[in-house]
């Protein structure tokens, strides 16, 4: 469980990025952190594995303050997938890249081999085992980066903008994959701008603006509130936009799911006939 208590953070440059965040992320929860650029989303999640330490207030991971533990130790339980895979890839082969963290954590050789195989398979990149990560396409590099984190099977997985630079098909796969992880009782925290992605996963959402939490709740409630989303400089999902515009016809306005929308519209059509 991750808890932020009255968390404030100011960068050395004087920029006050977080202004009193109170938040609990339960075990096995799926949370999306949304908000405009510079709202403090990445700054917040960087506190969850101790990359940043609170200026005041505190962050507890499983009851232990992040101030008292090294990033390496926290990372064993909290995996963080950075936005840009190019900020981490350095090995000669994909295989070595995935084994890097496992070696750092001091796993045994046999376990490393097993976990690397498992992660390669999980992200469907076994064929690139001996390839240089620099030779891969952007989407593939992203998958290697993801595999290199999942390889040590952390309890919590933080993904910073996972959908950026992915084509539709990859995004769909990623979405299935994240839902699957969550179904396996992993805690998943996603930082994203992608409303459509969030709408389809329907996690708990926190909306951030200027270093504060503006609202929180399930995606269906938060993303369908036009005032709130406007404050956080995001646009409601397209399905919601349609339903908001058709509100005069007596249609519900809290719809974010395509299937649900189809059902409602079909029901209306049948009533008319």
């Amino acid at each position: 469980m991750i808890e932020a208590k009255d968390l404030h953070f100011t960068y050395p440059t004087g920029l006050e990025a977080l202004k009193g965040i109170n938040l609990t992320v339960d075990d096995g929860e799926f949370l999306a952190v949304m908000g405009q650029n510079g709202a403090g989303k990445t700054t917040l999640v960087k506190h969850f594995n101790g990359l940043l330490k609170p200026t005041t207030g505190e962050v507890l991971v499983d009851g232990v303050s992040t101030r008292d533990v090294s990033v390496a130790k926290l990372s064993r339980n909290v995996g963080f997938v950075f936005q840009n895979p190019d900020h981490q890839l350095f090995s000669e082969t994909v295989e070595d890249e995935i084994a890097f963290a496992l070696k750092n954590f001091g796993f045994e050789e046999a376990v490393i081999k097993k976990q690397v195989d498992w992660a390669l398979n999980l992200l469907d990149i076994t064929q690139y085992r001996k390839t240089s990560p620099f030779m891969l396409s952007g989407g593939e590099r992203k998958r290697v980066a993801l595999a290199s984190i999942l390889a040590w099977d952390p309890k919590v997985i933080i993904l910073d903008e996972p959908t950026i630079g992915q084509d539709h098909q990859q995004k769909e796969k990623l979405q299935q994959f994240i839902l699957q992880l969550n179904a396996q009782k992993k805690t998943v925290v996603v930082v994203t701008h992608d409303v459509e992605f969030v709408a389809e996963c329907n996690p708990r959402v926190i909306l951030m603006s200027q270093g504060k939490i503006l609202a929180e709740g399930i995606a269906e409630k938060v993303l369908t509130n036009p005032k709130l989303v406007a404050q956080a400089s995001i646009v409601p999902p397209q399905i919601t936009q349609i339903f908001l515009e058709l509100a005069d016809l007596g249609l519900p306005t809290d719809v974010i799911d395509v299937h649900e929308a189809t059902k409602i519209l079909l029901g209306r059509l049948r009533e008319r006939q």
Partner: protein
């Protein structure tokens, strides 16, 4: 990475900022030459104070101090190397007769090592003052008006401009690798150096990738289309610039005089009197 902070330009207006970059560079170079001329601690202490008024006039003291702090590690390294070399190969220092055994000789060695360290600090202090108060644009202009081919000027200003970008990127890469269990401070000296490989490779690869992208972006904006470039702004020497030239030349003349005709006493000798 704080040493980079000391070379990051911030737009402010002050007497020092408004000086002609060519003259300021000339002044800093004179300081450089003077720092190389003298090996006595007393002389270098005096040199250390010369850039101070400029730093205060430009109100960049905080950033300037940060750059000195950033250079501290390297300064300690220089100090330690000088002590070790002076101790084990005392013949290399003319003031000490091997073997080093008397208190005076230890003091001389200590003074010599301090002087060498201070020489480095003087260089960082003066060049940091220069870069903190000179915008990359002005620097480029200065080079161009010194009849250096535009391609070289551009390469130079781009390099300077990308220093802070690279510093930011290095920080992100460090975070990404720390999140994969890399502990930079772990292990013996060799292991610690090796710990930096996962940081340096992505940094270099990204820098190359970025430079290629920059080149393509420039080509597509007609880089080099016109033979003779003109500039919106041109640099003109003002009264303060002429004063600084005179001061610089006088300083150099004084330094040469002292170097030729005055034997600067060592602190050790002064104290033992």
């Amino acid at each position: 990475m704080s040493v980079f902070e000391g070379f990051k330009f911030r737009k402010v207006s002050s007497v020092v900022h408004n000086l002609d970059p060519r003259i300021k560079f000339f002044f800093v170079c004179i300081l450089f030459v003077m720092a190389i001329m003298f090996t006595k601690l007393l002389a270098l202490v005096v040199l250390f104070f010369i850039p101070l008024p400029f730093v205060f006039m430009a109100r960049v003291n905080r950033q300037w101090l940060r750059s000195l702090r950033g250079a501290a590690l390297f300064a300690i390294f220089i100090f330690a190397t000088n002590i070790l070399v002076g101790y084990f190969y005392p013949g290399s220092n003319k003031q000490i007769i091997p073997p080093v055994d008397t208190t005076t000789e230890y003091l001389i060695l200590l003074e010599y090592a301090s002087a060498m360290t201070l020489r480095f600090v003087v260089l960082i202090a003066s060049f940091s003052m220069f870069f903190l108060t000179t915008s990359p644009d002005h620097l480029g202009l200065a080079l161009q008006q010194s009849h250096i081919p535009y391609e070289f000027c551009f390469a130079f200003t781009t390099a300077v401009r990308f220093v802070p970008v690279l510093a930011d990127e290095a920080q992100t890469i460090m975070d990404a690798q720390k999140a994969r269990g890399l502990e930079l401070e772990r292990g013996n000296f060799l292991k610690r150096v090796r710990n930096y490989i996962p940081i340096l490779i992505p940094l270099i690869v990204n820098a190359i990738r970025r430079s290629l992208e920059l080149a393509e972006a420039m080509e597509s904006r007609a880089w080099g289309a016109s033979e003779k470039r003109t500039n919106l702004y041109t640099l003109k020497l003002r009264r303060a610039d002429y004063i600084l030239v005179v001061v610089s030349v006088l300083m150099l003349a004084l330094a040469v005089y002292v170097w030729l005709y005055v034997s600067i006493p060592s602190l050790t000798a002064l104290l033992s009197l």
